[in-house]
Symmetry: C2
């Protein structure tokens, strides 16, 4: 019995392509003392995957030859630890693989729920990132205007829906008329601006007549530069990601930084979802409430098959997903 | 009797030169009902003066033909208000002039002190800007590393001296070997790096072996970009000004923004000294304490004569001052 894995054939220097990946077959890994053998069920596809290929971040850089790292939901199929039993469902730092081994104390046991994918979307990394960044850094108040880029993405969609639930005027930025329509119609944003159209500044002015109090930035670059010009005094910029800067070696800095921060007394702050793990229970309780009232819709974009993981990531970087993108490697256990 | 004023002959589009100013003689202004006639004694020369010429900031843009605005210490020479008497010393939003008029309720009466200049340096805009930005945004702790750009400038010098008094490792950045030596020897910084020398990154690494916890940024641009690379996780960037960006119409944005904020969970926040006026009493008490213990030295750079105000500002933008730059228009009253 062999194990499929997808490794980095070559590190990208500019845009990511299928040629940067290679599918390999290797022997089934064996769980050592204190370890578990895990079947990968769902893998989280994130823009951050691309940034890990650019060098050390909050984790070590990914190297050519490595299996691509990912957060995954897995089922325990063999256990050499008293902490976990066969059939347990866990979240693990995995790789793009059918099977992996992990130290039992390094994985987190998950509750049994009807749909495991929800543990990576609304109650997982996407929902938690949206909630913690918006609530702990953005601190929006009813009546304020919240602007969100990558609004059709996994995090942006939840940011806007949470802000709407809190009573804010919510404006999204996304790529393409169809996605913008979906953000308005399906997610209930007050407006969504297509950044691929000319006239971003004019559109921002029209959609945010009272300026912007909180900008939740997933993209960096030119869109961040424009958004900063519409911030109100004492506004908050939540730095969640910089997807426009990941897939290139020629990043562009917003030319109005840091001047605009001084003039408008703005705060910009970056975060990683794990920084707020101590507040996860509060987050899940709130998200469950809003899902139960229908104020938050669960958005998922599931690509079938391990072999399609490279295309799923390349597509994500090009913005072709709506909602949280996952790759399903195996069916949910029944 | 006439009144000398210096007006904007033409707004600069790039570097400021003497040709952008014009000295004019006009009739003595007359104080109306509720107004006072003020003799200007000392004018504050700030990098912000240049930014006011670039468009509306936290104040309306300065226009060609306007007398150049400034914060000034003045003596009341005629009063049409019961609130102020002849001989009172006040701080006012003035212009580059021998005499101005102002509404009595718009000026702030100052205490009588031995040296009026101290009310603009250590106990004035420079000291307050340093104290409020460092304490309220930077929040340094003993044992942390504080990095300050424009360290020989009016604000930077106080920032470093306060941080030393708090027990921090303090590193400055300034232009020229002689100024750097002065920052170390006279102001007691642990190190001061000459940004005009090659190898800024190497010098930062050597001077900040434990990384940077607080960066007090007065300059923006390339130096900000480099400094961000040396920040520790959870570091704080105090955005006080962007002097490198004021004297040009071609600003450059730090290319590592916003990515580095996410990876390192940094906070960048801008402020204006007036935002913290409610804490001014606390600030003055602390500064008086540190001056009394010798931990803070008062640094002033006083240029004599209203006619020299344009050169004083142009020189400040080129970095030729050490400590708080003022222009003396009239002698302190005896």
């Amino acid at each position: 019995m062999t194990n499929r894995q997808i490794t980095i054939a070559e590190l990208p220097t500019d845009a990511l392509t299928p040629a940067h990946f290679k599918q390999v077959e290797s022997a089934m890994p064996e769980a050592g003392e204190g370890e578990v053998l895990l079947r990968v069920i769902l893998m989280s596809i994130d823009a951050a995957n691309r940034s890990w290929m650019k060098g050390a971040t909050y984790r070590a850089a990914v190297q050519a030859g490595d299996a691509m790292p990912t957060y995954a939901i897995c089922e325990v199929v063999q256990s050499n630890s008293p902490k976990l039993a066969v059939g347990d469902i866990v979240e693990a730092e995995a790789t793009w693989s059918d099977y992996i081994t992990a130290k039992a104390h390094k994985v987190q046991k998950l509750p049994k729920v009807d749909r495991l994918s929800h543990l990576m979307s609304v109650y997982g990394i996407a929902g938690k990132t949206a909630f913690h960044g918006l609530m702990s850094i953005g601190k929006p108040m009813a009546g304020e205007t919240v602007l969100v880029s990558a609004a059709a993405g996994s995090v942006g969609g939840y940011v806007g829906q949470i802000a709407k639930a809190l009573g804010c005027h919510v404006v999204g930025i996304a790529g393409g008329a169809e996605k913008c329509q979906w953000v308005q119609d399906e997610l209930g944003f007050d407006a969504c601006i297509d950044y691929r159209e000319a006239g971003l500044s004019k559109a921002l002015k029209a959609a945010c007549p009272n300026g912007v109090d909180v900008y939740f930035d997933n993209v960096g670059g030119k869109i961040l530069e424009r958004a900063l010009n519409f911030m109100n005094e004492q506004g908050r910029v939540v730095c969640c990601g910089a997807i426009s800067q990941y897939d290139t070696d020629n990043p562009t800095g917003p030319r109005n930084l840091p001047g605009v921060l001084v003039v408008k007394r703005l705060k910009m702050e970056g975060f990683i979802v794990m920084d707020f793990a101590h507040n996860d229970a509060k987050c899940i309780r709130a998200m469950q409430h809003w899902v139960s009232t229908g104020q938050i819709k669960v958005t998922e974009d599931i690509v079938e098959g391990l072999e399609n993981a490279p295309a799923a990531l390349i597509g994500l970087l090009a913005g072709d997903n709506k909602g949280k993108r996952l790759v399903r490697v195996a069916a949910d256990p029944v």
